[in-house]
């Protein structure tokens, strides 16, 4: 796996959290893994709970084994 690791953050309901130009929605927004903790804390300070979207274990394993396809 090359490049920066990404994580997906989402809001709980049909809510939107905006910080600068970044908008995090219920559908999920991909951010750099290194920024995720700071974003979650910024959201908490502003009264918003953000959640990390976790991939199902099987899907994650398939991606690591052959880079895609099944």
């Amino acid at each position: 796996m090359t490049g920066k690791q990404k994580v997906v953050l989402r809001t709980a309901f049909s809510d939107t959290f905006r910080v600068g130009d970044l908008e995090i929605t219920q559908a999920g927004t991909e951010v750099n893994a290194s920024d995720a903790d700071a974003l979650v804390e910024t959201a908490r300070v502003n009264g918003v709970q953000l959640y990390r979207v976790e991939e199902p274990a099987a899907q994650s394993a398939a991606k690591q084994s052959d880079g895609g396809g099944s």
Binding site: F13, D15, T16, V19, T42, V45, G47, Q49, R52, E54
Partner: protein, 201 residues
């Protein structure tokens, strides 16, 4: 003459609070209860749908289960020959005490909150848009059972039907939001699960 006391087990008599959580309703990827390995009071899962606690309440959570029936009588028998269920009402009620937009959204039946984080020269701001249509949620409840472990309830789909009277007074009253969550699923589709013993080594 010996006294008479009916048989009972004191440790089965319980009082105690319950924690109530809401999650977005999603038909294709529904919210699930925590894994069996998650202890009482542990973190509820964030996927496939994230659970959010409803916060402080004035007098805890009340679970209501009302069954309306139709009794069938015949002339020849004084007791009913049959009793059928006509309606089942399953509700979870509380008076929410945290005065936030999140509480208002749940109390008013649904809506959308947009939060703008504070930045240089820009205030932090939230806007709430209440929806005309009811939002659907999933409901989870957790309490302590007679074994000292978790008891969890999952209602896959509920709506919030409330009669909100928010009182704004100087000191005599808190701002409170009365909510009633109505189950939209059949009784068979509600999950009740409790832990009775730890796993063996």
């Amino acid at each position: 003459m010996p006294g008479f006391t009916p048989t009972y087990q004191r440790k089965r008599i319980m009082a105690g609070m319950a924690a109530l959580y809401l999650a977005p309703y999603n038909e294709t990827s529904p919210a699930v209860l925590p894994a069996d390995t998650v202890a009482l009071g542990g973190t509820w899962p964030a996927s496939p749908q994230p659970w959010t606690p409803i916060g402080a309440t004035e007098q805890g959570i009340t679970m209501l289960f009302r069954r309306s029936t139709q009794a069938h009588m015949i002339e020849e028998q004084m007791t009913p020959v049959g009793v059928e269920t006509t309606e089942v009402e399953c509700k979870f009620e509380a008076v929410l005490a945290e005065d936030t937009f999140e509480t208002m959204r749940v109390a008013f039946g649904g809506g959308t909150i947009v939060t703008q984080a504070a930045a240089t020269g820009v205030i932090g701001k939230k806007t709430l848009e209440i929806s005309s249509d009811l939002s659907h949620f999933a409901l989870g409840l957790e309490s302590k059972n007679t074994y000292g472990f978790f008891r969890r309830v999952l209602v896959p789909e509920i709506v919030s039907i409330a009669d909100v009277e928010q009182v704004n007074r100087r000191a005599a009253s808190l701002r409170l939001y009365k909510v009633s969550f109505w189950s939209l699923v059949a009784p068979e589709d509600m999950d009740f699960v409790e832990k009775t013993a730890d796993a063996l080594p």
